[in-house]
Every structure is written in C-alpha cells, then in structure tokens.
C-alpha cells in the first residue's frame, strides 16, 4: 500500500472510531444532558425528587395570575400539568401558549416553586399582519367545520 493510501485509511478509520466513541459517550450521558424535564416526566418520578431541576412545557392558556411580582401559572405538556409559583421579573416572551423553562424545585406533589423563568421561542418568524390573517383563516376553518 502506498503511503498516501495508508494515511487515507488512517484518517477514515480514526474518524469512524472517534465517531463511534462519541456516540457511545453521548448515549451513556443522554439523561444528564437533558436541559429540562416535562411535567409528565416529573409526575412519573424521573426528575430529581429533592433538589433543583428545570421544568419545561407550555404556559397553559388562561392560567396566568399576577399579583405584583408574584406570578402563578400552569406548565403543561398537553398530557399532564404542574402549577408553578414564581416571584420576580418575567422575560419578554413569557406569554400564555408559549414554551417556557423554569428552574426550581417541587413543593408538594404538584406544585413547583420556580427561582428562574426562561422563555422558549418557536422557530417561526412572520410579520404581525400575516399572523393575524393566519389566525383569522384558522378560526374560519374551525367555524366551517362546526
């Protein structure tokens, strides 16, 4: 085998080996790499029982209650939901129906005390009038169906 082919083989085999090793490591640590747990996972006991973790999901529509800096809302993954209490300033994108990640710990079986609230945003970008039109046409469709 020529030297060049040897080096080519070395690079290809090396890269394959490193890829497999990385894949194994990532698979092994998959649960540690999770940034947040969903309400379902929390209720199934997959989140840390005593201690701080992050809870993620959607802010349930109509669930936000504000009293000064104190906010109470419900985080849902559309299967299960948890009530969250938070005291502090909320990010701009904190809205009902939007994704949210809250850090804190459980207080009781279905109440979460949050220390930090982070807003997730979707991958969609569009002007406000297009969004209004989209909502309008969806409402019309729903009307036509009912």
């Amino acid at each position: 085998m020529r030297k060049q082919n040897k080096r080519l083989a070395f690079v290809l085999i090396g890269l394959t080996g490193v890829s497999i090793a990385t894949w194994l490591v990532l698979t092994a640590f998959r649960h540690n790499l999770v940034f947040f747990y969903s309400p379902t996972q929390v209720l199934e006991g997959k989140a840390p029982h005593h201690g701080i973790f992050r809870l993620g999901g959607l802010v349930k529509k109509g669930s936000i209650k504000k009293n000064g800096l104190k906010t109470t809302f419900t985080v849902t993954d559309l299967r299960h939901s948890l009530v969250v209490h938070y005291t502090g300033i909320l990010p701009d994108l904190f809205r009902q129906g939007q994704g949210v990640v809250v850090q804190g710990q459980m207080a009781g079986s279905s109440v979460f005390m949050a220390r930090q609230v982070l807003a997730k945003h979707g991958a969609n970008y569009m002007p406000p009038d297009v969004e209004a039109e989209l909502k309008h046409s969806m409402a019309m469709k729903a009307k036509a169906q009912s």
């Binding site: 990385t22 998959r30 990010p91 982070l118 991958a123 009038d129």
Partner: protein, 258 residues
C-alpha cells in the same frame, strides 16, 4: 499494490493541484481574485443590511429584536461551514501532502473562531431579552462553545510547533477529530431538550421564516460567506509570503515594492 482503482481519479486531481496549486501561482491568482470577492462582499452587506434593518417587517412575537438574527444565524452557519472546510483542507494536506491545503486550513482557523465567537456573543445578546438569560448550559450553546475551543486549540497547536509541516500534521489530526462536533451542534436541538429552538430552515421542509424576512437572511448569509472567502484569500497570500520568504520570487517581489 499500486493504486486502488477508485483512487485513480483522485490522484490525478491531486497531481493537478500540485501543479496549479503551487504557492507562487496561487499567490498571483488570489491577488487578482481578492478585489472581486471584496466588491461582492461589500455589495451583499449593503443590500442585506438595508433589507434586514429597514425593509423586513417586525416579527409577531419579538418585534424588532429578532433582527439580530441577520447577524447571528449567518455567523453560526459559517462557524460550522468554516470548520468543515478547515478539516477538509487539513485532511487533504495530511494525506496527500498538498502544501497549499495546509496553508488554507491554517488561514481558516482564526476566521472560523471569529464566526463562532460572534455567533456566541450575538446569541447571548439576543437571549437576555427574549429567553431571560445571557447563557445556559444547554446542548446547543455548549456544543457551539466547544467548537470555539476546538478552533482555539487548533491555533495554539499550530503556533506551538515551529516546523510548518509538522505543525500542519499534528493540528490536522485535531481538526479531523473535531469534525464529530459538527453534527452534534446541528442535531443537539433535536436529540435533547434545549432552550434553543430547532432550526427554522431545513432542506426537507417548508421554511418557518416569512419570505420578506428570509430574503435578507439569505443575502446576509451570502455576505458573510463571501467575507470568509475574501479574508481567506488575503490570509493565504500573506502566509505564502512568510513561508516562501527565502525564495527568489518573493525576494524579487519585495525588492520591486520598495
């Protein structure tokens, strides 16, 4: 055994590169190309920034704050693209002993590092008002930070070895190994729960960005791409001069410029 059948084409290509990729020839060719690339870069930036900052409508969720996307997204794309280019050149230089490929890889590293840093900083500035935090250790942000360290490590390794050929070989291995990080960055938002949202643009589905916002984004991405090629040519030219400083053609060139 002589050559694998399938490699005959590759080896012919390599011979071609050896002939026309001679540093002296490439120095002149790059010199002629630089003004054109720089002109296209400037034009794309002017058009892209105008469209992005004035022409594009505000976003239904983020208002005008989303406009940082026109800098953040192209830099994030280029940070990954530059790495793949760097690793490919490094591998070509390592396997087939192409000097010009070594130079290209070395010249790409600081450019890629600056794209990565810009992506991280603009992302942080965007994250504070929208997410409510400058930084979180989620998979996307962390893997992009690792990309930055890979670039820095590559540059440090290059700088620590005096002999250019040995420096190229050692750092090529690092560059090639680091390639595994690229798919991790890309798929991090699908494999794990992350604060960072999934991609708005994919090859397989409809873009999730409205057309009047998508056009400036594409123009800005082309602008940063052409910026990269312009700077690459400039950096490769100066690296060639340094490496060939003892040759006749460089001495003649320097004398004629005095």
């Amino acid at each position: 055994m002589g050559e694998f059948g399938g490699f005959a084409g590759v080896s012919r290509l390599i011979k071609f590169i050896h002939k026309y990729g001679a540093p002296k020839r490439f120095y002149r060719l790059a010199g002629r190309l630089v003004p054109w690339f720089a002109g296209v870069t400037a034009l794309l930036f002017v058009v892209g920034l105008y469209l992005g900052l004035y022409w594009a409508p505000p976003d239904y969720q983020q208002g005008d704050a989303y406009r940082i996307m026109f800098v953040h997204v192209p830099n994030a794309w280029m940070s990954m693209m530059a790495y793949v280019i760097m690793a490919s050149f490094a591998a070509t230089g390592y396997i087939w002993n192409v000097r010009l490929a070594d130079i290209m890889a070395k010249a790409t590293a600081p450019l890629g590092a600056s794209f990565t840093l810009t992506a991280l900083v603009t992302g942080s500035l965007w994250g504070k008002p929208m997410w409510g935090t400058w930084w979180v250790w989620d998979a996307r942000l962390t893997s992009e930070l690792i990309l930055f360290f890979l670039y820095v490590g590559y540059m440090a390794l290059q700088a620590s070895i005096d002999d250019p050929r040995r420096a190229a070989h050692a750092s090529a291995i690092l560059a090639i190994v680091g390639v595994v990080n690229i798919p991790i960055i890309h798929y991090s938002v699908y494999w794990w729960h992350t604060l960072h949202q999934p991609a708005s643009l994919t090859l397989t589905s409809q873009p999730k960005i409205y057309i009047t916002m998508l056009i400036p984004l594409i123009i800005m991405s082309l602008a940063f791409m052409f910026f990269y090629f312009t700077m690459l040519l400039v950096r490769v030219r100066s690296e060639i001069l340094v490496r060939e400083q003892r040759t006749d053609w460089v001495r003649k060139l320097v004398r004629s410029k005095r």
